[in-house]
């Protein structure tokens, strides 16, 4: 028996190893089932899957890729938060500093391109699920969860777009958030808003409408920057995390990757 095997046996035979992994290496049917059942991350998978379902030409791996990109965005985003202050005075210069002074300054590139790739991947995932009819019973509810996740992904990307605080950011968000002004009833220039008055004074005006709620102001300024930062870094990622857990859980409970009935 070689020295490596001895060391290996000593490690896997120790109490520490045994306390973490409750079974041997996944080499037979029992341990291969155990490895999925006893691992909190792997147990989102079923123990066994349809052979035709895991073919790349069937799933295109787009759902998995979207989730992986979400992890990439989370990790690179947390690192970016160390270098970035969401106030008008510093936001832009912090991004400049990130580019000029931080070793291996690829963080922002990875974060931005990963975000774009995530948007594309989630659209393609939706297309695959539609074309294979995988939203049909029993997966109707999970399709709806997926649609919400898609919307949240776009909102994540949209809120992040403002944070560099350059011309591109400010005017793209201005164009996008101007739409909220036209929300029916709740927007200052939306149909129906003019009927909401108290004693002749309008309830919905530029300082109280849906756009004001989104930007915390009547223009894209420092309040909007803080609001988008909190939405981007905390609120939406939390919602997405919860819904991803529901989404994966339901895939498993609804019979795993779809296939002919």
């Amino acid at each position: 028996m070689s020295i490596m095997n001895r060391v290996g046996d000593w490690i896997t035979g120790s109490q520490i190893w045994g306390s973490i992994f409750r079974h041997g290496a996944p080499k037979d049917r029992r341990t291969r089932a155990m490895v999925v059942l006893t691992n909190v991350f792997l147990h989102l998978h079923p123990v066994a899957v349809r052979k035709s379902g895991i073919k790349l030409s069937f799933t295109w791996c787009m759902g998995g890729l979207t989730f992986f990109l979400f992890l990439v965005e989370t990790i690179s985003g947390v690192l970016l938060m160390f270098y970035y202050r969401p106030v008008v005075e510093y936001a832009y210069t912090d991004i400049q500093g990130l580019r000029a002074h931080v070793t291996l300054g690829l963080l922002r590139e990875i974060h931005r391109w990963g975000a774009h790739a995530m948007v594309i991947a989630i659209w393609l995932h939706m297309m695959r699920v539609f074309l294979t009819g995988s939203y049909k019973p029993p997966r109707e509810f999970n399709w709806g969860v997926g649609v919400i996740l898609l919307v949240l992904t776009l909102l994540l990307s949209f809120t992040g777009y403002l944070l560099p605080w350059d011309q591109l950011a400010m005017w793209a968000i201005t164009v996008g958030s101007n739409m909220a002004r036209a929300t029916p009833v709740l927007g200052n220039e939306g149909p129906g808003a003019a009927f909401l008055t108290i004693g002749g004074a309008p309830i919905i005006h530029a300082g109280s409408d849906a756009r004001f709620g989104l930007l915390a102001g009547t223009f894209v300024g420092e309040n909007a920057l803080l609001r988008f930062y909190v939405l981007h870094c905390v609120a939406i990622p939390l919602a997405v995390s919860v819904l991803i857990a529901v989404h994966f859980w339901r895939i498993r409970k609804d019979g795993g990757i779809s296939g002919p009935l």
């Binding site: 291969r32 089932a33 999925v36 792997l42 998978h45 899957v49 349809r50 052979k51 035709s52 379902g53 895991i54 069937f58 791996c61 998995g64 992986f68 832009y92 991004i95 580019r99 590139e109 931005r112 391109w113 774009h116 790739a117 594309i120 393609l124 297309m127 695959r128 539609f130 074309l131 009819g133 939203y135 049909k136 109707e140 399709w143 649609v147 919400i148 776009l154 949209f158 350059d166 011309q167 950011a169 400010m170 005017w171 201005t174 164009v175 996008g176 739409m179 002004r181 036209a182 929300t183 029916p184 220039e189 939306g190 149909p191 129906g192 223009f219 779809s258 296939g259 002919p260 009935l261």
Partner: protein
């Protein structure tokens, strides 16, 4: 400048207009779906790939204007290229597999995805595929991050409004719709309907066939509608909004300078103008309800009478399958979606501005 290139530029101007691009790509999609057994073959797909690539490279290089070139070669717009290629090639792959499956069903053979009992363990078969995908994705993102720098423009300046001001690229299809609809429809109602409509899909689509495998013949309406909605009304409009819309959101065919002073002299008219002034030869009534009555009647006919007529003719089988409530919801979504290309066509042909234009209350359709 224009006289030199002569008829070639004239031809390009003719092809590259919003109407020809939208209707042309819709016609290509319709032909592709109709003749899918010939056109979805890999050889035809490779041929289409090269034609598309040639047009695309030419499109990116033919933008003569400095600003336009910056936008076409802007790193932040590289994802659009990625999206176009991945979307079109995967849309093709889905159709090709559907054609193969439909042929198998016609011959009485099992589906590509058949064999539900041949299960494999998640470990190692699935986790290894996932690991390989993760490694490939990590490598791709890293290379992408090294090659292309994330854009950083001059600091935000509320006094300096860029022209054109564009939304992030994935919303440019919606921004394009602002040409044809007021913001409350293009920016609020239609996105809301897209979200609600997508969530409603499994509850509306009662067709039990095609669950879990690629097919076209077993659900032609659903697949055609999805391809049209996603590929034409979302992806093609994004491409149009990115490469062909310049200052003041004017349309610039390839080869033209992005002139911020180019005037787009268009006298857009409302249905009320057509009815009261052109047809009756009088003036507009002062009461806006009476003034807009022709448009309101048109919309009522469109949203109520046409669905009823369809339920008795073309969609008779669909109506029986769905029942009243599902059919009503489907029709609200379907007719609203159809209103988008219909209004676009009326804008291109008779310069229609509003069907119902109650500008007093921002209620313009």
């Amino acid at each position: 400048m224009l006289a030199e290139s002569g008829s070639m530029q004239g031809l390009i101007d003719l092809i590259f207009s919003p109407s020809v691009i939208f209707l042309g790509s819709s016609a290509i999609l319709a032909a592709y779906l109709t003749f899918r057994r010939a056109l979805a073959r890999p050889t035809a797909a490779v041929f289409a790939f090269f034609i598309f690539t040639a047009i695309y490279i030419w499109l990116c290089t033919a933008i003569k204007d400095h600003d336009g070139r910056l936008i076409a070669l802007f790193p932040d717009n590289f994802p659009i290229t990625l999206m176009l290629y991945s979307t079109f090639s995967l849309a093709w792959l889905g159709l090709w597999k559907a054609v193969q499956n439909d042929d198998r069903v016609a011959r009485g053979e099992p589906l590509i995805e058949a064999g539900a009992d041949d299960k494999v363990f998640t470990w190692p078969d699935l986790v290894y595929t996932e690991l390989i995908c993760m490694v490939v994705a990590t490598a791709a993102i890293t290379v992408w991050a090294i090659v292309l720098k994330a854009p950083l423009e001059p600091p935000a300046n509320p006094m300096d409004i860029p022209n054109p001001s564009k939304a992030p690229w994935y919303f440019l299809g919606l921004q394009e719709l602002l040409v044809y609809f007021d913001p409350w429809i293009a920016g609020v109602l239609l996105p809301g309907f897209i979200i609600v409509g997508l969530i409603a899909v499994p509850y509306i689509d009662k067709n039990p066939k095609g669950n879990g495998y690629y097919t076209f013949s077993e659900r032609p309406l659903a697949i055609s509608l999805f391809y049209f909605g996603f590929l034409i009304m979302w992806v093609v409009l994004i491409m149009l909004g990115t490469f062909l819309r310049g200052p003041n959101w004017n349309f610039f065919a390839p080869g033209h300078q992005w002139d911020p002073h180019q005037s787009a002299a268009l006298l857009n008219i409302n249905v009320s103008d057509i009815f009261w002034i052109k047809l009756l030869g009088g003036g507009l009534p002062s009461n806006f309800v009476i003034r807009e009555m022709p448009g309101i009647v048109l919309l009522a006919v469109y949203f109520i009478l046409i669905p009823v007529a369809l339920a008795r003719t073309l969609f008779a089988r669909l109506f029986r399958q769905m029942g009243f409530v599902r059919y009503a919801i489907f029709m609200v979504l379907f007719m609203t979606t159809a209103l988008v290309p219909i209004k676009m066509i009326f804008r291109w042909t008779i310069n229609l501005k509003y069907i119902v234009g109650i500008t007093e209350y921002f209620f313009n359709v």
